[in-house]
Subunit: 253 residues, 2 copies
């Protein structure tokens, strides 16, 4: 009797070409399908909620899969973690409705982007943050974030060459949190940008972050955000922030 | 005019054979000496407060060095961080007394050991913690820790083959902290053991941690600690905890 499962995953994306199976290197999806296939005894295909790019991390990626195997969910999670490399962890497995689809059923996603300012980055965080040496004007960045919230055409905020039908998306909130890093005596600060919305174009969160950082360091005015939304050319928005600072935190259904 | 400097360093020890220069692989000391030598224009030797083992990390290792170069300390720190690999960071450089010696002047050291219990470890912490799946009895571990405090012969708590004159050392405190991990929805707990003392034998902190874990998981009684101190054979104490969970946090002068 086939059953549908909902898997929640955390992974360090540093050593992967991204979530999606690709011929040019190891993907998180391929690792998960291989681990599931070993249990199921046949090739298995999973559907991921979001196609995280190469080097992007996840604290709560969600995948759906249909299995024939009757293992209880706790044992299945343990068996998967015993097989998967230690940079991918299954943090929850639950039974789902037969027609549950992690991608099309998702109604919102929460991403977090981590930045460290100041002269240096902790050796223990260097794989998971973007180092921006300058002091950032977080008040200006918050103003820019507010302009991005709501339903807009985010054409300026997508990777060149995207082939989606529409670039209209809705951003529900952008929160910018500034604090001292926890671990080390540091001159710098930790800046965390959370972006929640109903869907994201390719590189959209990273271009939003890159644009907000240019506002924060004074290279761009807050109003540029409104202009980028209005004009919609890729060069109307800022640079693409590096993958290493980005985490898919949560997918809501 | 030669001057003596005190450098404070943080490093991720994962990819090093340890602090000390060795023919069999990259050491933190060699990396630092190379970076300093490039500025000074001649070979430079540094003295480290503690010889951290292969794979052991530091949040506040201290090194002393004598330089002729007149660069101010801020510029020197920046130049060093521009040259050093990103898993080693100079977090402070200050002028010191001419006869300052990071090793012999140290009067106490603080080490921290991080453990994650439960079914899995976060992919973002896996290089810097020891994964112990079982639930640990922290009250029993704290009792064991109390028995270790004070001045004792720690012969049972040193790596076999040590060649020190005396194995008498003083431990000032052992604190054991139990909490939920911050980042992920986890069933497990984070256990942090801090050990502060006037000096440590080779592997001493790791054997103390290994012994306390065996008390915590019920494989050893609290009284075994007193027996290990009294008898002094390596097998009277517990296993050596892995290097990956250990951090040299602070050296006091």
């Amino acid at each position: 009797m086939p059953r549908t499962l909902k898997l929640t995953l955390a992974y360090d994306g540093t050593d992967y070409v991204g979530w999606q199976r690709q011929p040019n290197g190891p993907s998180v999806q391929a690792q998960l399908e291989q681990a599931l296939g070993r249990i199921e005894g046949r090739p298995v295909r999973v559907i991921g909620a979001g196609r995280t790019d190469a080097g992007v991390h996840a604290l709560g990626q969600v995948a759906s899969v249909t299995l024939d195997h009757g293992l209880d969910v706790m044992t299945l999670a343990r068996a998967l973690n015993a097989t998967l490399p230690d940079d991918i962890r299954v943090i929850e497995v639950v039974d789902a409705e037969a027609d549950f689809d992690a991608r099309s059923n998702a109604h919102s996603k929460l991403y977090r982007y981590r930045i460290i300012t100041g002269p240096w980055v902790s050796p223990f965080e260097r794989r998971h943050v973007w180092h921006v040496p300058q002091v950032l004007d977080c008040a200006a960045m918050r103003e820019g974030g507010t302009l991005l919230c709501g339903e807009h055409d985010f054409a300026a905020f997508q990777a060149v060459g995207g082939s989606v039908k529409t670039s209209i998306r809705r951003i529900d909130r952008i929160d910018i949190d500034l604090r001292r890093p926890r671990e080390l005596p540091a001159v710098g600060r930790s800046v965390t940008i959370e972006v929640e919305g109903n869907g994201f174009l390719r590189h959209m969160v990273r271009i939003i972050v890159g644009t907000l950082i240019e506002i924060g360091n004074g290279r761009r005015a807050v109003d540029d955000v409104a202009r980028a939304i209005a004009f919609g050319g890729r060069t109307d928005a800022g640079q693409t922030a590096p993958a290493r600072g980005l985490f898919l935190v949560q997918v809501s259904y």
